[in-house]
């Protein structure tokens, strides 16, 4: 089954199940296990960190039920779920569908208010304050140097035996009607804290404290640097996940598994 999900990350210690902490996976697996009267395991496309939100998270779970449509009534599921998680649709996934490994791309947004008064109170939970004015043209020019396939080690939390090569296909800051600066960024996949580190490298360009070439220099350094701050999680939203047509799902899964799997130790 494919699930399309939204959540407010504020109340969760991230997606991934943890003992004694409230997580999105934990809450979903509890409710689905109650409905199925059997333990179940739910896999998502983007394992969001603590505080990160989702408007378009996708997940799958395996069930062996002929009457799945009776079990998976959306009204019933959402009545059982807390108000900060919604499951919009539950559908039979095509053969070969894996929420994580079949995904072609993930799109995130990140919002920053550079109004000297701070963010609008009604959206302050999803928009961080920045007390210097931002030039989005500079940030888009600097961000352009990160687009494409690169080794993003400089922007990623270290993970042993895992590749940091990712392909950013879109990176654009836009001024919303409210005045908020919003980053829209899309890649085949993101490593941990990658969007928040990229934002941390672009804001000092936007306010004039760093040259436009700085993010490219950080990228080329291929090492974490203390000069790039990892920005807070609460303005980050997983907006959408893209999948190939049904007949390509299996092939895509095989490719991703070979790319993302830990490098075998020699």
């Amino acid at each position: 089954m494919r699930l399309d999900i939204s959540y407010d990350g504020l109340g969760f210690a991230g997606w991934a199940r943890q003992n004694d902490l409230r997580t999105v996976q934990g809450d979903l697996e509890r409710v689905f296990s109650q409905i199925l009267r059997a333990p179940c395991s739910i896999t998502c496309a983007g394992r969001t960190d603590a505080g990160v939100h989702a408007r378009g998270q996708v997940a799958h779970l395996d069930v062996a039920l002929p009457q799945w449509d009776w079990y998976f009534d959306a009204g019933r599921i959402n009545r059982a779920l807390p108000h900060d998680i919604r499951v919009w649709t539950v559908t039979v996934a095509p053969d070969g569908f894996d929420a994580r490994f079949s995904a072609l791309w993930r799109r995130y947004s990140y919002r920053v208010s550079d109004d000297p008064c701070g963010p609008d109170p009604l959206v302050r939970h999803v928009s961080m304050p920045w007390f210097r004015r931002l030039d989005l043209d500079l940030m888009n020019e600097a961000g352009g140097s990160l687009v494409g396939e690169h080794d993003f080690t400089a922007f990623c939390k270290y993970r042993e035996r895992a590749t940091s090569i990712r392909d950013i296909t879109h990176l654009r800051w836009e001024r919303e009607p409210s005045g908020t600066a919003a980053l829209h960024i899309q890649a085949d996949a993101f490593c941990r804290s990658m969007v928040r580190s990229i934002v941390g490298s672009l804001l000092p360009v936007g306010d004039g404290r760093k040259p436009i070439t700085w993010p490219a220099e950080v990228l080329a350094g291929r090492a974490r640097t203390p000069w790039v701050a990892v920005m807070p999680a609460y303005p980050l939203v997983l907006e959408e996940v893209g999948y190939p047509p049904a007949h390509e799902l299996g092939a895509r899964q095989a490719i991703t598994r070979s790319l993302r799997a830990p490098v075998p130790q020699s």
Copy 2:
């Protein structure tokens, strides 16, 4: 001085100052009194109820300071204020300006999610769930009968010796891109709980349980009826307040005072 203000109503027992309760007026007067080193009194255009938000509240306060611009630095004021209130601008108001009595109109919005799954988690604080599908065309047709100058006693909280005659100049439901149903309503002024009662009379029309003529019948009854529910406060937002050009402020104030003042007892 004229203040332009936003706030998240969730943490406040409404606008009006109260002993032992957190209110918007209370928080603002405390901060402005600290800055002015003297007690001050702040008057607003729309005294919102507990839980009601504002994106465009307007207020005034009287000061006798030649160096007002030094005192009223927006950065300084907002650093002193909690994050759920922002003062966007502090400007010298024209002669005759009174935030309440000079106002020509107030515009509010009210959001309802009729998705059977409930509201999007990221906006659930400002959008109420309605578990039947709403036909906005029916609601707009029914709402049209409330537009114009009427005695809105049927939709207002009773207040002794006060008029309930108001002039609604705009009332329209719109489907937003997210799917949320949003009411935009404008009038010269609103009496207490008027928007929330109007919403309570239109939702049962939109879901087909009441005839399209029902809100007009309620209005004509000129008495509160238990059949009209007062909807919750948290989806209600004061969006904007309109004022006449500077040279008409004094005249407008005199008219409003005569209209809104309590009717003298004989």
